[in-house]
Symmetry: C2
Subunit: 211 residues, 2 copies
DNA sequence: AATTTGCTTAACAATTTTGTTAGTGCAAAA
DNA sequence: TTTTGCACTAACAAAATTGTTAAGCAAATT
């Protein structure tokens, strides 16, 4: 069904539109993006965009859904390893999390912006957060309590720890232009800075947990 | 000059437009904002908006400049107290900083968004950051080195510490809808949560500094 | 072979949005 | 009193932007 056409120049028109739309929406946001620019970038008539996705909103929602899925896959796994120590789990979370964000540096800003514009209609992104966050938080709290019981760490709220980790990991990407302007040359070596931040953040979190 | 008109219904038309524009731009961003909506909200003809500010861009720049000024005033002072201890300075910075953000919760997102859209033309916001950040960082580094010399703390990079503080303080506001969705009831008591986070962040930073 | 189905295009239409202009009225200056 | 300058209005204009429609065309189906 997806290829019942004559002979397509582009592998898949729909995919070309999606790719171009992703770039445009992430760079300019929903209201800043132009369907004509997207079509042009995709190398198709702008009528095609409406043929495949009816409306701009529909196209946008498709992109959001894909990104939310991506995020979901990246976040659900690491906490489930029951037999690892809290320290290992935290090191894993921080490292994986930062690798994921580094591979998708615009994702946090895109999704947060999306979350902000959803006062009225429900957001697939926030719905997912509401669904998965409590589960992860309970699992993390359990791990903390276990470690605290044998004196390996303080008994602190999983919510606060999670917020610390998220803040430390995500903020530099969210505020990238500002951080670059403020710290200058320090951030020039991207992958070096990334690894330094991983170590730094893990250390910060472990110190916070110390009894 | 500013009041050489017949008898004005609104105290100051220009101010009314600025106020309405501020709300609209912060809520919807530059491309999402509509000059007609701004004029309507300000209770004036939309021609007035162009009369006072010529273009939408001009109006936007005026708002940005005002906000950058606001931020500047809030950030330059506390580090300059020479005779206070590092601990006092950090407690002050964190507390003041969070109070300021709590009073202007949309400001970080607004300015970061603005910084992102300035690849081409120069940004008054980023210019200010580039100007003031090095000074503050040097002052902070000096304080850290002093304290480290008498064994009160580790010798760590001021840049990293600053980034930690900014991340921990700002992120919860930047990602407010997401944080609310994830942590739920915890964030319901706004001022309680704010104070809890102040303590938490100060503690996190002090632990990071411990030898 | 005839028909149907899906992809594509070009032209058009409607609306929104930004910006302009000519003119009006009032108040202060001349 | 006349003139000048400023705030303001209403109508208009231009452009951009989203969305539609009718028709063509190739391939698959009957």
């Amino acid at each position: 069904m997806q290829s019942g056409k004559h002979t397509q120049l582009i592998p898949d028109t729909e995919t070309a539109i999606l790719r171009a739309a992703e770039k445009e929406f992430i760079a300019k946001g929903f209201s800043g993006a132009r369907t004509t620019s997207i079509a042009e970038a995709a190398g198709v008539t702008h009528a095609m965009l409406h043929y495949y996705f009816r409306t701009k909103q529909n196209l946008f929602d498709t992109i959001v859904a894909a990104k939310v899925d991506l995020l979901k896959q990246a976040l659900i796994s690491p906490l489930l390893d029951r037999n690892k120590s809290l320290e290992c789990i935290l090191r894993d979370i921080i490292s994986r999390h930062m690798d994921f964000i580094a591979a998708n540096p615009d994702l946090p800003r895109f999704l947060i912006e999306e979350a902000y514009n959803q006062t009225d209609r429900s957001s697939s992104f926030l719905d997912q957060i509401r669904k998965h966050a409590p589960v992860m938080l309970r699992a993390l709290q359990e791990k903390i309590d276990e470690a605290a019981a044998i004196g390996q760490c303080r008994r602190i709220e999983a919510e606060m720890l999670m917020l610390d980790i998220a803040s430390l990991n995500i903020f530099p990407f969210l505020a990238a232009p500002v951080v670059n302007a403020a710290l200058g040359p320090l951030t020039a070596d991207r992958s070096g800075f990334l690894e330094a931040r991983k170590r730094e953040n893990f250390d910060t979190i472990m110190r916070k947990l110390r009894p």
